[in-house]
């Protein structure tokens, strides 16, 4: 009975989404306040219903109810509890339900925490959101229903793909979806503004917290996914330019551009049309990502099932929403008013440059991802566009952007002084040059390119700090005075600094781990050793392991440095018996920010084992940088101005009368 209640709640949510998409919309067009108020209650009710439905599915997984087809296909009664729960979204149907849950969650958040939003705008935003929910609820119910039942019910499930039985899976999709789906709010705001015909600085300020929130989650989700690929796939790589990775990276690039252009719109009311376009584009890319991943157009670990009807359904959703949005944009864009004026060299100009480069980079990734698919569809020819393409195109576009990043915050609004900004960045430039000179002296010219990358990273980090140093007059006034000034700076300024510093950290990690890594593949027998830099790994022997639905072998290594034991590492080979699928679990030890990475190949009967040992210099900085960027986003989100314009609600809403 419980399972059926979850199923019914989902159906009811669809009915409410249809009502919530039409009634408030009608109300907004007629200027009817009561009808517009329906938007908030239906948004919250939709969320409660989908949450109930999701809870029921989770319950079915936890108690291993094998009368639910989805549970049979993706679970096993012996799986650890954590993976039973994460298995809920470790498959196509469940992950689409999570998608919808997050969609309606954002709707409910807008309904509950936007007291300062004009009622009409709010009603329009929530009806657009309801239309998106309705489309995806329909998709879930018709083409990928997780509540389908089996009768008679089997006594055991088929277990989850072992690669997905991992803590990474428990966290990565929800974070990424919060990011993906969060973009739907800026999209809904953009559409609402186009319908309403009113787009101004106030609008930009209302959208900002939602965009920023989505961006933070997207950043975390991508970083998490990259780290998961790094330790789970056992190849030591952290980014493969895999179409699925690109599908999440494109919305991130667009969202980053949107964040910056929205600042211009909010502060100076310029770039209106562009900002609206970016908001539509960002969510379109999110939808495209969902389509690519879920339709089975791409086969990868993410493509849980390949089913053409699903692909066509999502494609239809894609066409209706993106096509509709762009038509509306084309019809209305001309009527948007003129914004504030600015000179080319100015804060606005710097942000425009940022936007140009980010969108061009995004377009590059788009072409690199979709061109092979289009070519295969048209001519049947299969080509693979991989890292070399992106290194040649994406890389060169990022370099000028990264060089320009520290200049931005130093330029004044409307008209800036590039020379003065340059002077203020002399220290950062000096620091970067010092790194190059010292590096060349120590390592010689072969490392010149890597050193240039390191210098770029130092430039970014020191440049970001220089801005705060300049604003607080660090070194020119007493430390206490600098502290006072620093505390007085708006949080968004701190957010900018922290986020830009984070990019530097990530760049440093990328360059160092690419330039100074070592990879050793060899066959070892127990007792033999391998030397990696200053560290010596000794293979001690085999340990049988077993847990839940797998059995396997781990190999114990002792790591010594100068004769002292500094660590033990136990990479594993597992065999998941239900799906008869072997996996490797790499062992990773972090020294400072660098990592030693050991994974296993074949184990022969005589105990000789193929071992891959990687040394990755400063690799942890890649993900640490993403965390720092996110921290910058959160700081900016806490800025007081995002709360201003939120007149305190005159009175608490009275308890609802029982009707």
């Amino acid at each position: 009975m419980i399972v059926e209640i979850g199923h019914y709640a989902l159906v009811l949510a669809l009915a409410l989404a249809l009502a919530g998409g039409t009634l408030p919309f009608w109300g907004a067009l007629r200027g009817d306040v009561r009808l517009m108020a329906v938007a908030s209650t239906t948004a919250v009710a939709q969320f409660l219903l989908v949450a109930l439905s999701f809870a029921v599915l989770t319950y079915a997984y936890v108690v291993s109810d094998f009368s639910v087809q989805n549970v049979v296909e993706n679970s096993h009664s012996l799986k650890p509890l954590l993976y039973k729960v994460s298995g809920v979204w470790g498959n196509h149907e469940g992950s689409m339900l999570l998608w919808v849950l997050i969609l309606v969650l954002f709707g409910a958040l807008v309904a509950m925490f936007s007291e300062n939003l004009p009622l009409k705008l709010k009603a329009l935003v929530l009806s657009v959101q309801s239309w998106i929910s309705a489309a995806f609820l329909l998709f879930v119910l018709i083409a990928s229903n997780p509540f389908l039942r089996l009768d008679p019910a089997p006594l055991q499930g088929r277990d989850l793909n072992p690669l997905l039985q991992d803590v990474g899976l428990a966290i990565h999709p929800p974070l990424l979806y919060l990011g993906y789906v969060g973009c739907s709010i800026s999209f809904a705001f953009a559409i609402a503004a186009l319908i309403d015909g009113r787009i101004d600085a106030a609008w930009a300020r209302w959208v900002r917290p939602w965009t920023l929130t989505a961006w933070c989650f997207l950043t975390l989700g991508i970083a998490m996914g990259s780290y998961w690929a790094y330790y789970e796939l056992g190849w030591g790589g952290w980014w493969f330019w895999d179409p699925v990775e690109n599908a999440s990276f494109m919305p991130w690039l667009a969202a980053t551009a949107l964040l910056h252009s929205a600042i211009v719109m909010e502060k100076r009311e310029a770039l209106k049309i562009w900002t609206i376009l970016l908001a539509i584009l960002t969510f379109s890319l999110s939808l495209l990502g969902t389509f690519l991943v879920r339709s089975g157009v791409l086969t990868s670990v993410h493509a849980f099932a390949t089913d053409p009807t699903r692909g066509i359904f999502i494609l239809c959703i894609l066409c209706v929403f993106i096509g509709g949005a762009f038509s509306l944009f084309a019809a209305r864009a001309g009527s948007l008013g003129q914004g504030g004026l600015f000179a080319p060299i100015s804060r606005e100009g710097a942000l425009v440059l940022n936007n140009l480069l980010l969108t061009a980079a995004c377009a590059t990734v788009f072409v690199g991802t979709l061109y092979p698919l289009a070519l295969e569809a048209l001519t049947g020819e299969k080509i693979s566009v991989g890292a070399p393409f992106f290194d040649m195109t994406f890389g060169p576009m990022m370099v000028p952007l990264l060089i320009a990043v520290p200049f931005g915050p130093f330029l004044a609004w409307k008209r800036g002084d590039i020379v003065a900004a340059g002077q203020r960045l002399l220290f950062a430039f000096g620091a970067a040059m010092t790194v190059v000179v010292i590096g060349l002296a120590l390592m010689g010219t072969p490392s010149a390119l890597a050193l240039f990358g390191i210098a770029l990273a130092v430039w970014l980090m020191v440049g970001a700090l220089s801005e705060i140093g300049f604003r607080t007059k660090l070194g020119r006034v007493s430390l206490a005075e600098s502290w006072r000034r620093g505390a007085g700076l708006p949080r968004s300024a701190w957010g900018t600094t922290v986020a830009h510093f984070g990019i530097g950290v990530t760049v440093l990690g990328i360059i160092a781990s690419t330039a100074w890594n070592s990879e050793t593949i060899l066959t070892l027998k127990p007792g033999e050793t391998v030397t990696v830099g200053s560290r010596v790994l000794t293979m001690d022997g085999f340990v049988p392991i077993s847990g839940g639905t797998y059995t396997g072998t781990s190999v114990r290594f002792t790591v010594r440095e100068g004769g002292n034991v500094v660590a033990t590492m136990e990479p594993e080979k597992r065999l998941y018996s239900v799906q008869n699928m072997p996996t490797t679990e790499a062992a990773i030890k972090t020294f400072g920010f660098s990592q030693l990475y050991v994974s296993l190949g074949d184990i022969s009967a005589d105990g000789s084992t193929v071992v891959r040992v990687y040394w990755k210099t400063l690799v942890a900085l890649i993900w640490l940088g993403a965390l720092v960027m996110t921290a910058g986003g959160v700081l900016s989100l806490s800025d007081r101005r995002l709360r201003v314009g939120a007149p305190k609600p005159a009175r608490r809403s009275v308890p609802l009368p029982a009707e």
Binding site: H7, P118, L141, N145, L155, A412, W413
Partner: protein
């Protein structure tokens, strides 16, 4: 019944989500103008702060102030569609809430849902009668039991023959290994273990299997299954005369109605084409738990078919992965056992083609073929 009550409550709550705001007097709504004005005022303050911190020049700040002030003034102008005329009846809207939502929800649910099915959490199903279950279900029950009590030797022993019957030989090897460890060796366990190993490696009696049969014979020198497979291993090793002797001894000691008799005679016939083959014993009507899994039980035709299937599978695997030298060796041996030396010769030719670039591996394969006797005549 409870299900329908809960569904009715949910539906009522959903309808209320639409009805309540319709029935509530309009609150002092924050109109666009008011909300926007407070933001513009804040922008003016912010501009002053930016000016103090040198984020914008004096002249530009003045220009910006003019821009913002102009917007502040404009925001007072009423925008089209901001009128708040309310139509208090809401007949259609109430109809949507009370009729359309329940109809859409119930209608869709009846189409996609399965209200008649009860929940079946696994914990409540251990007591379910086995009749419902297929063999798969029975196995999962025993497996679940063994996962919780891995030291239950009896459980492993019960499971092993079922695995054999299903062709899950690797699992059978594991189960019998556990049974031997927990319950101790017996002739029966050892010989079944040996058979599982043999079957797992494509009906080739491996060294491990041979050792198991030898152990079984120590417990019971008359153990038929062990003798059967040892005779088979002699044939596979090319010891033709020993094999003939072993088969003859086995057949001589067999009761006339032994189910494996015809299989043994068929084996013997490979070495002695003149030996008489008695017609296949009538096939037992259905498998029972007692007559599990011995090669001898199958009719010669079935057995031949199964072996040929395995050999074809092995040949296919080698096409894809020719560097597996032991695979080639097994393939040659299998063809010899099947009495198809010409197929073995063809396989050797194929190996030469596939391994043209790996002379080192090819040498191993050639040697194996030579030892087995392929390509001699």
């Amino acid at each position: 019944m409870l299900l329908w009550i809960v569904m009715a409550v949910l539906t009522a709550a959903a309808s209320l989500a639409v009805l309540i705001p319709l029935g509530r007097p309009p609150r002092a709504a924050s109109a666009h103008a008011g909300a926007a004005r407070s933001i513009y005022r804040d922008q003016l303050d912010e501009l002053a702060r930016d000016r103090e911190r040198g984020l914008i020049g004096d002249a530009e700040a003045d220009a910006a102030r003019v821009e913002i002030s102009r917007r502040l003034l404009n925001s007072d102008a009423p925008a089209p569609g901001d009128a708040t005329g309310a139509s208090p009846a809401y007949r259609i809207e109430r109809l949507v809430a009370l009729v359309a939502i329940p109809i859409v929800a119930i209608g869709t649910y009846l189409y996609v849902g399965a209200p008649q099915l009860a929940d079946r959490p696994v914990a409540s199903r251990q007591a379910e009668p086995a009749v419902e279950g297929s063999v798969d279900n029975l196995i999962s029950k025993v497996e679940a039991h063994l996962a919780a009590n891995p030291e239950d030797g009896r459980g492993w022993e019960v499971l092993a023959p079922i695995y054999m019957r299903l062709g899950r030989f690797d699992d059978a090897v594991r189960a019998l290994g556990n049974a031997k460890r927990l319950l101790g060796s017996t002739a029966d366990r050892e010989s079944l273990y040996g058979e599982a190993l043999t079957r797992a490696s494509g009906n080739v009696v491996t060294e491990d299997a041979r050792a198991a049969f030898d152990r079984a014979l120590k417990f019971d020198p008359e153990d038929v299954r062990s003798r059967f497979f040892i005779a088979m291993s002699l044939g596979q090793a090319g010891r033709k005369d020993d094999a003939i002797a072993a088969w003859k001894a086995l057949i001589a000691s067999a009761p006339a109605d032994a189910p494996w008799l015809s299989a043994a005679q068929a084996e013997l016939a490979q070495f002695q084409p003149t030996a008489t083959v008695t017609p296949a014993a009538p096939v037992a009507p259905g498998p029972t738990a007692s007559d599990v899994a011995a090669t001898a039980e199958q009719t010669p035709a079935e057995r031949q078919q199964m072996i040929e299937g395995m050999v074809a599978g092995l040949a296919g695997k080698l096409e894809a992965d020719p560097v597996d030298t032991t695979g080639w060796e097994r393939l040659f041996r299998a063809y010899m056992v099947l009495g198809k030396p010409e197929a073995g010769k063809a396989a050797l030719v194929r190996a030469r083609a596939l391994l043209a670039e790996r002379p080192d591996l090819l040498a191993v394969v050639e040697q194996a073929a030579h030892d087995i006797g392929i390509g001699k005549d």
